[in-house]
């Protein structure tokens, strides 16, 4: 019974934890401009993140080593360092976007300028990382993030023609008014948002934090294969709401308020309040995850003690790295660069960095000396290889598409 409860809790946490500022913005943006014609990309991204999160969770459970530990081991110190620097840039950019996102959500709730919230949010992020147990941190923000279920509720209240909705998902049709390159650019952004690399750093390091062993692989699979797709469903609901309310009105998403607007229209004030709670929880949770991920990746590369399962003084360098990353992220938000724009760039650069993370995971999950009986099966390998191909194409296309479309203008 207790085990069942913990599995259930894990699934709920995965649902709430899947959505972050990148998913919120990208899905609303894409929905408002392209209707449901890009939902297939989100579906593809969810399949990809499930595949590689399962692999990295399995690797972490069997070897008790985090992802970057293995990246350095497989790629060597040179390529490993290049990978570390690139991944860190993307993760800190995402960290910046998440902190900006929390502040924007608080502005939405209070009408106080978001910049005033930034130092408070930053301090809160640090305090939680410094003091709260890993399990508590993961569960509280994952569960609060479930408030985003208000989006599927809003969709239901909007009472769309479900048949047409499903048809436009299954048989996607690019709107005639949009260029193919813009369509593809938003596709890349959605893919990057769904497969953001920090999710894998966090997931595998979290498995070590919680002292998983090979026995926990089954639990991990349930979390991943049920939780992430349901989280993906939230993303699709956000896109669908935007497609139904914002697209006909010709509204392009440029603020977090516009992401929540369809909920206000369909469910009213109370619904909007719940949506804002969901925004705060999802972005704050993701801020914790990205912040911890900066520490995880550097400490794992250099072999330092890391993690919240030891006292802060026993992982001194790890905590200093997290603190420095936090200061950098706060400074970036305080430059008054629009957090929504920062988010857009962070997910596109995530897409560029994808192969750096996912290739080494695939290699290690295939090493029989390391993995023993838990080595990748044929299905995992076939799918993993196909996805690696997709990931490489997406990564290569991301920057040219960005230049070609002036970042989706």
């Amino acid at each position: 019974m207790k085990r069942l409860l913990s599995v259930f809790l894990g699934v709920l946490t995965a649902i709430g934890g899947f959505v972050d500022i990148g998913d919120l913005v990208a899905n609303a943006l894409a929905g408002a401009r392209f209707g449901l014609s890009l939902v297939w990309v989100t579906v593809l991204g969810v399949v990809g993140i499930c595949l590689f999160a399962e692999m990295s969770g399995r690797v972490a459970a069997v070897t008790r080593r985090g992802t970057f530990d293995l990246i350095r081991e497989r790629l060597g110190p040179r390529a490993g360092l290049l990978n570390l620097v690139a991944s860190l840039l993307v993760t800190v950019l995402t960290f910046t976007a998440e902190i900006g996102g929390v502040a924007l959500a608080l502005e939405l709730a209070t009408s106080v300028n978001y910049l005033l919230f930034v130092p408070v949010v930053g301090f809160a992020v640090w305090l939680v990382i410094w003091r709260l147990r890993f399990k508590v941190l993961e569960n509280v923000f994952g569960l609060l993030g479930l408030a985003l279920i208000v989006f599927p509720v809003a969709l239901w209240k909007l009472n769309p023609a479900w048949g047409d909705l499903l048809h436009s998902i299954v048989a996607p049709h690019k709107p005639a008014s949009e260029d193919l390159s813009t369509y593809l650019y938003y596709g890349v952004a959605l893919f990057g948002a769904a497969m953001t690399p920090y999710e894998v750093f966090f997931f595998s390091s979290g498995a070590v934090e919680e002292r998983w062993t090979a026995k926990d692989i089954a639990t991990s699979r349930v979390n991943v294969f049920i939780g992430f797709p349901l989280g993906g469903l939230l993303s699709v609901a956000i896109a669908a709401c935007a497609a139904l309310v914002l697209m006909p009105a010709g509204i392009e998403v440029g603020t977090l308020g516009q992401v929540g607007l369809p909920v206000a229209v369909a469910v009213g004030k109370l619904g909007l309040a719940v949506a804002i709670l969901g925004f705060v929880a999802a972005t704050f949770g993701a801020a914790l995850e990205t912040g911890l991920s900066t520490g995880y990746s550097i400490a794992q590369y250099f072999g330092w003690q890391w993690g919240k399962f030891v006292r802060p003084r026993d992982a001194a360098r790890f905590h200093v790295v997290v603190l420095l990353a936090l200061i950098a992220a706060i400074a970036c938000v305080l430059t008054t660069a629009d957090p929504i724009k920062v988010t857009e760039y962070s997910i596109v650069f995530s897409a560029v960095a994808l192969p750096l993370t996912y290739f080494p995971i695939l290699v290690v999950a295939n090493d029989p000396v390391y993995m023993g009986e838990h080595v990748n099966g044929r299905l995992s390998n076939a799918l993993g290889t196909v996805f690696l191909g997709i990931i490489i194409v997406v990564a290569a296309a991301a920057v040219p598409l960005m230049l070609l479309t002036s970042a989706g203008q």
Binding site: E73, G303, W304, Q305, R313, V320
Partner: protein
């Protein structure tokens, strides 16, 4: 040194780069100490080489990094060292009890006396923040 698989590994030649270099080094309780940044080799009696020590720290890692970055790493590490003749941190291979997904030693980091930056950061930064000695709640 009772682990059978470990004996197997020392008898046969094995891929140093794949199975030892850049592995995580941990103490008997699993606390993380460092990476195997480099190894010290000595000629073996029957030809070939044996690993005599694991090397760690910027002075071991630096030479394995490319070009200027590697030289700067070494130069900085030399400058910051109190030692007039700085050398990489050295862990004799006798300390190794197991080679698996991590390299397990029979001593803790404090017992080995290879503290360095971690201790500096601990005393000068982390210990000054309230709550550094408490486990998370």
């Amino acid at each position: 040194m009772t682990d059978e698989s470990f004996d197997d590994m020392t008898d046969e030649s094995f891929d140093l780069r794949l199975r030892l270099l850049d592995r995580q080094v941990v103490d008997p309780d699993g606390a993380m100490i460092c990476k195997v940044d480099d190894v010290e080799l000595a000629p073996a009696d029957g030809g070939g080489y044996v690993v005599t020590a694991l090397l760690a720290g910027p002075l071991a890692l630096g030479p394995r990094l490319p070009g200027r970055l590697g030289r700067w790493t070494v130069a900085l590490a030399r400058r910051w060292s109190d030692d007039p003749e700085p050398s990489p941190r050295r862990i004799p291979f006798e300390r190794v009890t197991e080679l698996g997904s991590a390299v397990v030693l029979d001593r803790s980091r404090d017992q080995l006396g290879i503290a360095g930056l971690e201790d500096w950061v601990r005393t000068h930064v982390i210990d000054r923040i309230p709550g550094s000695r408490h486990a998370s709640e």
